[in-house]
Amino acid sequence: MKPVYLAGRGLACALGLDVQASLAALRQGGTATSSYSLPGALGGSFPYHAIPFPRTDWNERARTLVLGVAAEAGAQQIRSGVLFIATSSFDIGGVEQGTAQMDYSAFSDKIAAWLEWSGPVYVINTACTSSLNALIAAQAMLNAGEAEDALVLGFELDNQLTMGGFASLQLLSTGSSKPFGANRDGLVLGEAVAALRLSTHGPAQWKMLGGANVVDGSQPTGASAAAVVSMYQRALEVSDLTADAIDVIKVQAAGSPGNDAVEAQGLREAFSKIPSLVSLKAAMGHTMGASGVAEIALLTACLEQGAWPTYEAEADTELGVTLATAAPDRARHVLATILGFGGSHASVILERT
């Protein structure tokens, strides 16, 4: 089985249009949210982490952002490799503008054409866990020798369907995201386009050891503690690690009253000594299908360059877990989790080489 390295990364999110700009904004305590207006009695104005790039033509904006993060990740070196596009909303924002059609093949063909991609293209949609599942799939293909390079592109841009759907389910905060916070009252969504370039050609600073996805249908819109524990156990098993080897966990912790508590319960059950916990949701929002790769792009940069998010919200002491206030001295093994719609619970484990 060939090792798989994280050979490049690119990120455009509310914090900035590339990794360094995002890191700089994170060091400054983040950026202000914009607001998103929705119609109807349950609608109104909701905070939103928009990418600071002018909203004109939806497709042109998407093309510019995709090309930017792909170039930052070094995608031009691997256009005959495998491209994974991970998204929960495809180009529905373009459909809403009347500039795209609801057609999966047209969507993937469009992005492949932007990137001048000549290799195979796969589009993964498992809602919020899409890009972690794309990473897991990409690693499997590279491990199996079916390809030597892959680009995993997380893609989640402004659209009313997602915002309206989450608002209708009353999952959105009207204030701010408070990960593991005492007064957490819901999610703040955001945009991100992010890319991780995987390669069997090392060395690189990070190696992907493995990952796991556990679908549990008992809670269609939320997480289950049993599935969280199973997810950790399976990810550790395929990575040939034990729980005490994990130094940092990037948690989901999106500020949901229910899901944060379930995730905390899973952490307590799976880890006798809780590793350093970090959440990036308050800084960049919950970027849905892109969140897995977007948060890994930012977190690996944080760990390499000594940056760390700050949390303004008062912690919920009843959860029995707390977010670390500074980067740990040692961060060799990092576990990154996303929990999502459709009862999907996904984690991947990275090793700093």
Partner: protein
């Protein structure tokens, strides 16, 4: 290269006229507010599992689902609702193709790896599934509610290769009832006819 034996299948393209009645019988009740996409998917998946003699899946099995158009109809409805108001919560959930995976997991009382792949050819779906499949194999489905509907499913279990008995086949042969085994070679799909 992994070789799979087909231990169960449901080929419904289009589904039979009474597929909803059959689904209600399998579930023990008529499904409510999950949408046609999920109903059609459950119908095919449960039929396939029954054909394989399974009421649930082993823990290490995986579910791989693909579609060209996905939840097109449900998405169209929600976009229309959004012109004046928020969508109905259940209507929004019906726009998420991966909701079917959760519903199927719940129905089978199973927890495990399940993934939706959009717009790929069925053969591409098989390639992804084969790269990750473990000892308990895959439940692989191809679903579309448009153009009369399609809910094709295969229960695939890894097996030993039998040399010399496979031939190269077109992608369309994946859901043929005339094959008992299949594998993906560099040249494409190879199948072994039913003996």
């Amino acid at each position: 290269m992994k070789t799979f034996a087909i231990s169960g299948r449901c080929i419904a393209a289009p589904p039979p006229a009474d597929w909803r009645e059959q689904l209600a019988q399998m579930l023990g009740a008529k499904p409510r507010r999950i949408g046609i996409w999920a109903e059609l998917g459950l119908y095919g998946a449960l039929r396939c599992m029954a054909d394989a003699g399974e009421k649930t899946l082993p823990p290490e099995a995986q579910i791989w689902l693909g579609s060209r158009r996905g939840t097109y109809a449900a998405t169209d409805i929600v976009l229309e609702q959004l012109r004046e108001d928020l969508p109905m919560p259940m209507a929004f959930l019906q726009t998420q193709p991966s909701q079917l995976l959760a519903l199927l997991a719940a129905q089978a009382d199973w927890k495990g790896h399940a993934c939706f792949v959009a717009g790929a050819e069925p053969q591409a779906l098989l390639r992804l599934a084969a790269a990750q499949a473990g000892k308990d194999g895959v439940l692989l489905g191809w679903l579309d509610e448009m153009d009369g509907g399609m809910s094709n499913w295969l229960r695939l279990r890894p097996c030993e290769d039998v040399a010399g008995s496979y031939h190269v086949a077109s992608a369309g042969a994946l859901f043929s009832t005339q094959i008992s085994h299949l594998r993906l070679a560099n040249t494409g799909l190879e199948v072994r006819p039913v003996a």
